[in-house]
């Protein structure tokens, strides 16, 4: 059974990467490399937890779906606000994306640590009462299946929906045009600024779900908020790994999950004991795989696998 557990766990932890990466894909598709994603995910999680904490008193009165919905909404708003901040500085104030993104991560992780440690102190992490609700319909399972809660389905739905919008609708076409060449898109009459704002905010909101999923579903512990940053960076890596395609991302998130927890399960599956010192080497694998993919795509130069051409370039209309 341990193989099944391994696959299930890999799939579940992959959902974090999937949500983070799907959000980042939308942002990168409009040409903005948001390195603030780890911060955004953390803040999203914080927002959700604060909302859950606030509903603690009414937990018996409110229906479960409403609790989840409010938490998701709070998460989306908080993460979206971070996206708005990033967008205001990079789009409206024409600032450097890398610098802004890194500052956003510092800022977001700071807020998260501050707020979450406060929650733990005052409420004795009461927000965790919602764990069984988030883990519906498998909350009674004793194996890894219990991590496949409601948000798993939301994540898969979002990934498919985003893929559909990006590649099958006019909005998606315009959005990708903005990311490839903002000046061209502008000339065609696409509202570049609006597209960038909306895409970044929605993308950040989705990425925020990743953080909330990790705390309220996968980890379910009060210290979970401390590791969101590391998972956030893996999400940024996953975007590259999956060649900026949300559907590949579903597969990629599973691969990342397999690699990320390989060490914990390798011993029981293979029936051997691995030396402890191999743990870091195993944890390295997702990053190495990402580098290899990045190099291979740049060598092969297939046009559909390249990063958006305008990635990282600030667009100023009067400078063309």
């Amino acid at each position: 059974m341990s193989i099944v557990n391994y696959l299930l766990s890999a799939f579940s932890i992959g959902i974090i990467f999937l949500l983070g990466a799907t959000g980042e894909i939308i942002t990168e598709k409009v040409g903005h490399l948001n390195l603030g994603i780890p911060g955004v995910m953390s803040v999203g999680a914080t927002g959700g937890c604060i909302a859950l904490q606030a509903m603690y008193k009414y937990r018996d009165v409110l229906p479960g779906w409403l609790i989840v919905l409010v938490a998701l909404l709070a998460c989306f708003i908080c993460a979206g606000l971070m996206g708005l901040l990033y967008c205001f500085i990079t789009v409206s104030l024409h600032s450097n994306q890398n610098v802004t993104g890194l500052a956003l991560t510092t800022f977001g992780v700071g807020i998260t640590k501050y707020e979450m440690s406060k929650l733990t102190r005052i409420g004795a992490h009461e927000y965790l009462y919602a764990l069984p609700i988030f883990r519906q319909p498998f909350s009674d399972s004793t194996n890894a299946l219990k991590y496949c809660g409601v948000m798993t389905f939301i994540a898969l739905f979002i990934a498919i929906a985003v893929s559909f919008v990006l590649y099958r609708t006019k909005v998606g076409l315009n959005l990708r045009a903005v990311g490839e060449s903002a000046a061209t898109a502008d000339a065609v009459g696409i509202n570049v600024t609006a597209y960038k704002y909306v895409a970044t905010i929605i993308g950040s909101g989705i990425a925020g779900f990743g953080g909330l999923y990790y705390i309220m579903d996968y980890a379910g512990s009060q210290e979970a908020y401390l590791s969101i940053e590391a998972l956030g960076w893996l999400s940024v890596a996953l975007v590259i790994f999956s060649l900026w395609k949300p559907l590949v991302c579903v597969f990629g998130s599973f691969v990342f999950g397999l690699l990320y927890i390989a060490n914990a399960y390798a011993a029981s599956i293979l029936g051997i004991t691995l030396p402890m010192k191999l743990t870091p080497i195993m944890k390295l694998l997702p990053y190495v795989a990402t580098v290899i993919i990045l190099v291979l795509t740049s060598i092969r130069k297939r046009r559909e696998n390249q990063p958006p051409a305008g990635l990282g370039i600030t667009y100023f209309r009067e400078e063309r």
Binding site: L33, L35, L85, I89, S92, L93, H94, S95, N96, N98, V99, T100, L102, A103, L104, T105, T106, F107, G108, V109, G110, I111, T112, K113, Y114, S117, K118, W233, V236, A237, I240, M276, K277, T279, P280, I281, K283, L284, Y287, V288, T290, V291, L294, V295, S298, I299, P307, L311, G312, F316, E318, E319
Partner: protein, 363 residues
Amino acid sequence: MDNNNHKEKQPLFHITKRNEMPVWQAMSVRVIAVMAALLLCMILSFILIGINPGKMLVSMITGSFGSQRRVWKFFKDLAVLLCISLAVTPAFRMKFWNIGAEGQTLIGCLASVACIINLGGKVSEPLLVIIMLAASLAAGAIWGLIPAIFKAIWDTNETLFTLMMNYIATFIVSYYLMVWTPSGSSTLGALKYGFLPVVFHNYFLLILVVVILTVLIYVYLNYSKHGYEISVVGESRRTALYIGINVKKVIVRTMALSGALCGLAGFLIVSALDHSITTNSVGGQGFTAIMVSWLAKFNPLAMAGTSALITFLNQGASQISTDFNIDSAFPNIIVGIIIFFIIGCEFFIYYKVNFRHKGKEAK
């Protein structure tokens, strides 16, 4: 453009690029931004936590300059941050977005520690320090070269590549920590060999090295042929090709230099400060350095000022969190807010907001 469509409603404002702003004016915009950010932080902490703004300011200043020990610590932190910032600058001038300073510095630390563990006690102390220096420089340079070579040959996206290299470095360090600590605790105690000589004060030599480095980098970037080539490649790769600069060579050479200087920072951290290594030895300074370098507009001399500002904020904010018993994450929030303001204010230095009614201008 607006003059052509009189019939349409004109937008409320439009943005134009400024001519170069006088230095004093640009500086005053930045000072105003920092002041505004500090004010906002004070108001926020007054409302949210109830800290007296006056006391907060005092605590902030004493955090960096309250005692002789704190002043030395201030200059020590400043020196390390400045060293890494100087390291990333040549690459940034070339518009090579090296965000891998964290990893390059960490690998430099690792190389130094590896030398101490393997050679400590077997060779004389001065020789060991020299070997450590060489090893750190080489390790950092290699870590910088890997993405640079792929960038030069296949135009692989360097931002993403160097970002990944950071994590690879982190896990390599945690691997070696497990190898070196047989108990499996993964915490390496302070090592007994490989000390940078102490002159005047523990930190003096470290600070001196960075001061010299600042001047050297300034001269290198502004008055040498290499520096000129870097600027041209950064401005326009095509121009560089036309005038016969070997772009690939410049990219590889500059990144090797950038990485080696990060390695130097790693060497300094180990030999002058920590005498040990953790996965957090660099502590995010590789990322902060990017902001420092960018805020100084890639000018090494101005970088001394911006890294002083960031160090001051960090130290002041952590003093506040001790004095008022707030969570240690508080400094990150304050520094984050202030950096947003500084990043944001650059806009007003380079652009002008023209409102619809003539003559009205934003600052």
